[in-house]
Symmetry: D2
Subunit: 419 residues, 4 copies
């Protein structure tokens, strides 16, 4: 499938359209546009033709990009103007012991990244967590949100619309849920700002990330609002959702899964695995993750949660831009007699085990490595489990990096200053 | 290279270590750890052995993951515990006309994503921009930052240290720059919070993203601070950097490249390409991107900048977790007599054309598609150019999504309500 | 009452304690502490004695401070260690026409301030609003919040506590409402962060600001939580309330009253009263209040809402430190054919018409000037009315300042550059 | 002066304008407007006339409001439409020992407030600080800012303007400093967002708060920008200043004075004065002020800094709306063997000892109580000293409230649960 020479059917003689060279030439002649190629050939051939066009336009050899594993057709719902595949190295961290409600056991964490030392760092944290008996993890909130913005005549009308919405959540739920088999409307929260009304719809979307489900369902509900009230829809997303922006509303109220993980690591394990003390880790965490972040005006109070979220997201077919909200994480660390207590709170982790990129060849394998591909039983339990495992991974990354910062300092202080 | 059967040397008889099956068995027996495999085999073989281990532990077939294009050794600085490759479909948007200082011409945007409709959306925006003569783009600030935190005795000592630092920036620059051939220390800004002093070092890092360069240089400078003052280093990163967290300091002061792009699209082009009006786009932008984001407590005032940033970052070997800061984008739109004026301001776009994942097989090809792989002449011009092209792509994505929201509404209003 | 010579009872002969000079001497001798004076004399005499002490310690003549109008005893619930009164000049703006649900009519705005031009500025805005038929105002949310933080064993226990709270809101309401005749618990929202659980209690507090009511009621509810669950109270306020800090949770979800006001000012009125155009005001508002604030990482998207809030708060006995949350205001402006549409959204305006400083001599008069002193009928309507009038005042301040910025520029441009 | 009967000159027969009754009647007849009264009478008489108008319009007796101490004329630069005085009770906390650079000694803190228990709370903290030898305090940054926004043709022109500004700071300084005898331009920082350029001017304003000085100086500098570049001024304040809004730019970079205070309180003192332990205080501070604030999306990481700032600001004639930025405070607490280390960092405390309301009768007395009224020697040292004393007071308030929260819990736990 990844062999360009197979992309055209040599026996298909007269079907000149299926010849990528000919297709590429038609594009070069201005006879076709790149995105029209899918109408004239199968996905694979169209991709080959595009590669030829781009190669000729830019003089770049795209043979590695053309040498991809997944079936081009399988990606049709994921991409347009396909030219091939980007390949990121995947490393595996763990296994890490997770004591969640949906995920209970030992789990490998596949991490796709190009940042050296990241997998090793997470791996070190996983080992410490597992040594300590595992991370306790809980999902405390779920809800994919979408918040259309409506125009109203004035604040008086805005207040009436807001009140109508609160009184008619049932009608909105009915309309919204007609568009989906799994989604359930959990709540609608109105915000009036001048002559604009924002309605933040929150859905339980089962095992799916749910962005599309939420958008479609909200469109239906918005129509009901428009019919029943004087409000007029301006945009189906009014940025109170908030999708892929670093926003306090998500950090405070959550979006997707809100998940918290913690562990108490015995003092000896801290010293053996991390080469430092619970006290030094607490100090580094307080000064860096709490006070430093406070001074920076940050919504993220952590060391590298985004690294773990990004690495697992790419490996398992999640939406990579949701790394933005994935960094809304608060890390705590406290030295105790028995050792180090540490936790992470990921306010807005947006994951799914069905849909999105989860069906692509490598992504479905790597999701399977964690063990919760596809729909869960009960519905939603697989997405919960994935969230729990990622939270444990984020905790591992935090422990490892903060302790490295703490110990590296000690080390360098010892070496260089003789203290 | 991706054929497992070649991974061991059949003629190497006695080198049983190089047999992935045997290595995998040793891991299963607890004789070796996953990460120790690199000491007993070449990168490819070690990866194969790990896949075997993981496959057996989890019962998952990793053949797609094992079928990767890049050379395993080539990824050694990018990953540990390699098990294979994650493959994301790549589509191409554009070409888009860019009128930057470093990038001037027409550029394809390779986008690696699993979110359907994204490439098509950006592509539509690129066409409109190019029709309008191209996006004007400028990099207005550069600087990779690293901010260690030090402990001092009290605020009096903290104030002295801060003053010493301001008076001795030359000494710090000298120490920092000894560690790097390209990096240049631009400034050090001290922040005193109780008995903690944070020093935000900002570097010109040429064509590299510069995170590692900044870290190493700052370590050297921090040693000078420790020697010359009573301050004691607690952590080499004190979260005033801020790396991979959504923080106001980056949105305000920038990190990496601060880059702004704009375009004026003629009224007819808006109507033809987007099926709506400049006025409707301005309204949607104001209510969604400005007021909606304001009400959400957001640091991102845009529609989907993170989507474009993430897609190009993954395709071209950038650090995927830097998507977090990449979403610190303000989008403006203004209806004028002649058409629509629109702009994006990306405060903290962290890009490089050397180092990181830019040398991997597919990434280097895709970076070449844009056209600025490797070191620039003058130094830094390639990274500038990449930032400019991404900014133009982000502008395309904004135009396309905001106009879609505006027109979709109009459309649905027309269809369904007869208005 | 403000005459020191009357402060002691000449006929009380032997009661030497009531002689402020003697009391002051005892303080100077270390025999009494300043705060113990209230145990040895009436409030007036104690204040006089303290003034003598401070005057002697500092060499400052406090005669103006000692010449206050209110009865010292009347301030006993408002102050400790009373030494006198601080007197701020009060100006009056308006009347402004308000079309609210609780306040409908023309209202003077008493403003206590030392910032020259403020009253004039608000006054100018009031005139324009009244000319245009008045500001439409609505309170869209009410709720005084208090959020204690509890310690739990781990995230598992934290999740259980959160669930228990959600299932037992009735029990918590019962306990909370036993402590108050007017307060009503509206909701409790749990947030789990590691081994901490924050419970944000929101109360309808009628016509009172309600901070104390909320604190006392929450203390009772927290005891129920401690009795029924393993959670242990760490602090009765865990800063998710959030009181007197600039926090997104208040800007997004509101605290106290969430109130929105708007007006459409005819084009001629804009030109006559403000010497500029709706278009110039819209531009200044977009570039300053929306985009400028966005770039500043601000939670306030307005020109001077805090000025109006502070001035009316001090005049009417509100808690002056609640000006912090009072600045969480979004101002919008849109040029239309008919003129200028403008609005303010004050997310967290914390007002009361009973309790706090509302009973003090000048404050009760000035609250009466607005017209809603004391408890409302129905309960809460007076506080609503005060919020509505302040919102209209804030709108006046915004209109005036933004148009001044816009026109001053035009003016200076005209004068100096001949354009 | 505060006696209305003296306000008109009975012997001035024919000067009917000076009769407040007659003036009030003319206002009632629509012959005069409230603000025109100053043209027809002295300040006192005009105020009396306005009171009569308002009394008749509202039916409210304003005799307390009319009974003020300051000279009406003395408030002419502070207020318009004067009707009288608002009187707040003032209590005194302290003395507190301050070890600052500008303030070194024991200082009373006059606090004007209507919030019961505040003065007592601060007083308790002052005593503990003094017992411990005093608070160490340092001002680490000074700078009053003003940030006009300009319109440019596009980002290319914006980048040129930004560069011109950076190259011509001297010219801007010259123009700015011509308007002021004390102000000195410290820096100009440009921010380009689309076709808008924001220039953040920062001034050393000596002992004055400096808002007006900065505005006037910036106006002059903005004219130079307009003359020398194609940029066109849109608004003299573009909200990157940021004045009286809760914004990260101030919390991070400071505005006015950035001041930090700390103290180490012996373990016994903590127990005696606060009835709790350093450990309990550290825990309450971490869970409330650091983690709770983090979860709330707050820019303030403290317990009640705004209370102290507001109380002293009102007492001493500072701008009361600057309480907004005054709440940008980070409080830290750490239990150590020897006791409790605690600190406050006030990023943006805007104070002055000249100008503003500092010359009013009660305010000048109360500023004198602290001891730094008027211009300092060297210039700026009085404002520094005031900032230092307020910071020590804020620290006192933090210690007191956090320890109260911690101990109250212990107490209630002891009483009620027998633990």
């Amino acid at each position: 499938m990844t062999d360009d020479s197979d992309a055209t059917d040599p026996g298909a003689g007269g079907h000149s359209e299926a010849d990528p060279e000919i297709l590429a030439a038609r594009v070069a002649d201005g006879d076709l546009r790149l995105y029209e190629l899918d109408d004239h050939a199968d996905a694979e051939t169209a991709a080959t033709a595009r590669r030829i066009v781009v190669e000729r336009d830019t003089g770049v050899d795209l043979s590695a990009t053309g040498d991809y594993t997944f079936a081009a057709e399988s990606a049709e719902s994921n991409i347009e103007n396909l030219i091939g595949g980007a390949q990121l190295p995947v490393g595996v961290a763990g296994p890490v012991t997770v004591r969640g409600e949906a995920a209970d056991g030992d789990f490998y964490l596949p991490i796709a990244t190009t940042e050296g030392a990241l997998v090793a760092s997470v791996n070190r944290g996983c080992a410490a967590i597992s040594d300590a008996g595992g991370a306790t993890v809980r999902v405390t909130k779920r809800g994919m949100t979408r918040a259309p913005v409506f125009r109203v005549a004035d604040v008086s009308e805005g207040a009436e619309v807001a009140e109508w919405v609160q009184d008619n959540e049932d009608r909105l739920a009915e309309a919204a849920e007609e568009t989906t088999s799994h989604g359930r409307l959990q709540s609608v929260t109105p915000y009036v700002v001048g002559d604009a009304v924002y309605l933040r719809f929150s859905y339980d979307t089962g095992d799916a990330n749910g962005m599309n489900m939420a958008t479609i369902a909200t469109r239906a509900a918005a129509e009901v609002v428009e019919e029943a009230t004087p409000a007029s829809l301006v945009a189906l997303s009014g940025n109170l959702c908030v999708d892929k922006k670093p926003a306090a509303i998500n950090a405070v109220e959550g979006r997707g899964h809100t998940v918290t993980a913690d562990v108490t690591i015995p003092r000896e394990t801290v010293e053996d695995r991390f080469g430092t003390t619970p006290e030094a880790i607490e100090e580094a965490n307080t000064r860096k993750n709490l006070i430093g972040s406070a001074k920076a005006g940050s919504l993220g109070f952590n060391a590298q949660a985004a690294n773990v979220v990004a690495g697992v997201f790419i490996a398992t077919g999640q939406d990579e831009a949701h790394v933005v909200e994935g960094s809304n994480c608060i890390t705590t660390a406290e030295a105790r007699d028995e050792g180090l207590y540490a936790s992470v709170n990921l306010a807005s982790l947006q994951v799914g085990t069905v849909g999105g990129g989860t069906d692509l060849a490598t992504q479905s394998e790597l999701l399977d490595v964690i063990g919760f591909a596809g729909g869960g039983d009960p519905v939603g339990s697989n997405a919960d489990a994935l969230a729990e495992v990622i939270a444990a991974g984020a905790l591992a990354g935090e422990l490892s990096l903060v302790s490295a910062l703490a110990s590296r300092h000690l080390a360098s202080a010892h070496e260089e200053h003789g203290r």
